[in-house]
Symmetry: C2
Subunit: 497 residues, 2 copies
């Protein structure tokens, strides 16, 4: 076990001694809840949080309190639309995709860029919201809806994209805790999880944004502290040079097996095949301007970067941008350099208090380089690209105190982006995004708002009362049952090509 | 702290060291979950469970396993009605109400009696299912529906009773953890909780059951281990003789305060007034045969018995029966004797593995009488009435292992009654009740059934997405907002009188 893992476990264990936090994390999906300590005098956990915060630059102030009349502001907003107006940005699309490395448009953040960042973040959030976490479901680990219904079911039709393909990734023995597995014997797949999707902008959206935009959205893990431990072991080479990326990430991206149903081809194969098809159609056949935007949160952000590397080595003249949220470090300096040389643009959105972007190599790259010798790790994980740094304290709606799960939650990121003007101005009063979304799967909103924590849940965990008065799990609609990968391959946009 | 409390806390603490179970209990409402230990070799918790089981006659076999093909049986039942046929029992009603102390009809259990016991159990269950536990709700601690909609909302119209009055009880400083309190400042009531209801049989049901049946259903607590600690301190006198009952129970039943909105009169006053009104109307004015059946689970069963005592001292010629589920001991021997002399009939349904019916005085009345001297408690809590003893092991659908919350859950009781034929025959294969209900608020069903644990939950914790795309807590329907006690007093059946 690596030293930084020990550090993390220690922290959790100290906050509530003896409580098996890993089990709780599993039960609560992707949430590690560490509530604000209720005691007035700092306890051991608070003191440890403070000192860790100092060492890791986590910018945590465990004592901060807010006294605004938030409830009335919140309730006033109830009768206003949640989204900013969609202006025509067709002249600005290269800037938005990072052609100038987002220089001079991040601080202050241009409103037309903010809206696009949120749009991509919502694609990443969709991979969580539609995921079937129910271990009693025979479809555990799949998407609850078929690709034609995904955006409609999640209320994301306003983004005006069409999903053209779902991506599946494989789990294996070396990453035993990564996959969501069904408890039941007869399942849709024992080896695969839904890991994301490919989508493409509709004609109207294409006109508004100035080019046909292909999006790849990668799902993150349900329990960061688990892959943290599993994934930080070693770096594997990628490409033909010195570039290396973290073994665990690459393994999810590249693994396949003939014995599986959904991963006879790897996630990489699936994505590359779909992107190739779409680029050939829109760019090759129709002669359109085409961009590729790859997005993801947490692990999904790491996969996005590896995916970008592969696409960039394959399509030399395709503009490739990555917009990642709370993503950990992925590879070494050579990896970073090659991405830069190939023109891949990366915008890393990070919350200062979030610990995940500091991993792996948290302890190796920051203050404590002397651990390199102890662990025998001679390589260095490194971040690439431009950074949009957000601060939990900037929002009057968020609690103070230590909440590692809340700091890392994608909905927290989207809330903070929505309120961000510049690094020295307060939270944007015209922020439109629904504040309640923050608490979907964590406990970050101040109590005054009266939004329950972790409220995103199915009625009766999906059971429904049938005509005989019995509570049963309804059969999934046939078209929401995952089909064989080869069967879905030509669905979606395939029909028009 | 009494010795038996120490025993209980110890048990929990040993199972998962350091975990604050009280907080979990509060968070999960009325559930203490102790999962079946996964390890093969008995750990400290298992060994303690075994020895406690032995001392307390809890009949727990931590190693029991079941190997039936349950899923197919379960799924076959999906297309059959959940209830047994309702036969005419008008000639048997005195037997059902315990006129002969249920002699010779409990073992084997007569089918017409089983159905009536389940009916009363469902009234008690309704007080849990409709309770608002949401501490962010301004109506926390109230019933979610008004009395005219209660049975309809819970799918209980088949029982053909009409609610005539809701009962509210007060909390006070000496029982700080008993009341569900809203976190928000502006609430329906700061001092009261909905504690039950009075209902009366409709005309059709009255013909079927042979008399006009008035029911009083009392709600239990959300966290048995809490009132266990709070309530077992001392006995208070009741009536004019030597009868005494446990202080905490009596206090909930009797407390009132002019400064409250719903408890200017006590729960006792409210019930007695309503029962008086109904008896005067149906018995006095219409000349009907009238019975009173008082039911409750857990704390609710204790309140039912105290309520029965008061009614019996007031209405000398009214048949009064109590059907309680998992109720603790309530009073001393004189209390028992007086109830007997007044002709109150009590049927106590108990699950052998449930620890609550052994409280208070668990350690004093059983093996360890020597503690009397240590604690200075010279009184003895005692049970009264007939007992229907159920065994968790009789059901092939229930897990083995230690699950204190599951053993005590009212839905577990109703499931076991439904399957009970006699103490020496296996679970009834024609049992009709929906098995999935058992897991509503606990984790008792074997995994093969694929019923999620604790599945009884609102979609998105009651938040709904409004026309602007914002997630808000909808305002309650006006007629579901608790009204002032004096305002509701003449609702329901009052209008026909």
């Amino acid at each position: 076990m690596a030293l930084s893992t020990v550090r993390h476990n220690h922290f959790l264990a100290t906050h509530e001694p003896g409580l098996n936090r890993f089990n709780m994390v599993r039960a609560q999906h992707h949430h590690v809840l560490l509530d604000h300590p209720k005691t007035k005098t700092p306890n051991r956990a608070t003191r440890l949080a403070e000192s860790l915060s100092h060492v890791l630059h986590l910018h945590i102030d465990p004592t901060s309190h807010k006294n605004l009349d938030l409830l009335s502001v919140h309730e006033e907003k109830h009768s206003t639309p949640t989204m900013s107006p969609r202006e025509n940005i067709s002249q600005k699309w290269r800037e938005i995709q990072g052609y100038h490395n987002w220089e001079d448009i991040l601080d202050p953040l241009q409103p037309w860029l903010r809206r696009e960042i949120v749009k991509y973040g919502e694609f990443a959030q969709a991979t969580y919201d539609a995921f079937d976490y129910d271990s009693f479901s025979e479809y555990c680990g799949s998407c609850r809806y078929n690709q034609n219904k995904l955006f409609e079911k999640l209320g994301l039709t306003r983004n005006s994209y069409t999903v053209t393909r779902y991506i599946y990734a494989m789990s294996h023995i070396e990453l035993p805790r990564w996959l969501e597995r069904s408890h039941v014997a007869d399942t849709w797949s024992k080896d695969s999880n839904w890991i994301g999707f490919v989508a493409v902008s509709d004609d109207d959206e294409t006109r508004r944004i100035g080019r046909r935009d292909i999006v790849v959205a990668w799902r993150g893990t349900v329990a960061p502290c688990e892959w943290y431990e599993d994934f930080q072991r070693k770096l594997d080479p990628i490409g033909h040079g010195d570039a290396k990326v973290e073994h665990g990430f690459l393994s999810i991206y590249k693994s396949k097996s003939e014995t599986t149903r959904y991963n006879k081809s790897s996630a990489s194969d699936q994505v590359m095949k779909e992107v190739t098809k779409l680029v050939n159609f829109y760019k090759g056949k129709k002669g359109e301007e085409v961009s590729l935007t790859i997005t993801g949160h947490s692990l999904g952000g790491a996969l996005a970067l590896i995916n970008a590397y592969e696409v960039a080595t394959t399509f030399l003249d395709l503009p490739v941008s990555v917009i990642s949220f709370g993503a950990p470090r992925v590879g070494n300096i050579a990896f970073k350099d090659e991405l830069h040389q190939m023109g891949v643009k990366l915008l890393r959105v990070v919350v200062k208090q979030d610990w995940v972007p500091k991993m792996p190599g948290l302890l190796f790259n920051e203050k404590l380089k002397m651990f390199d010798e102890i662990t025998g790790l001679e390589w260095v994980y490194t971040h690439v690209g431009a950074e949009l740094a957000l601060d939990v304290h900037s929002s009057p709606y968020l609690k103070g105190g230590m909440n590692l799960s809340g700091f890392h939650s994608l909905e927290t990121y989207l809330h903070l982006i929505d309120g961000y003007l510049s690094h020295e101005t307060p939270f944007r009063s015209e922020a439109r995004r629904d504040i309640a979304l923050v608490n979907k799967s964590c406990d970050m909103l101040v109590d005054e708002l009266r939004i329950p924590h972790c409220w995103y849940q199915l009625a009766n965990k999906g059971l429904v009362c049938n005509a005989h008065g019995r509570w049963v799990k309804p059969k999934r609609d046939n078209d929401d049952i995952p089909s064989h990968a080869s069967e879905v391959f030509n669905a979606g946009l395939g029909v028009v090509m």
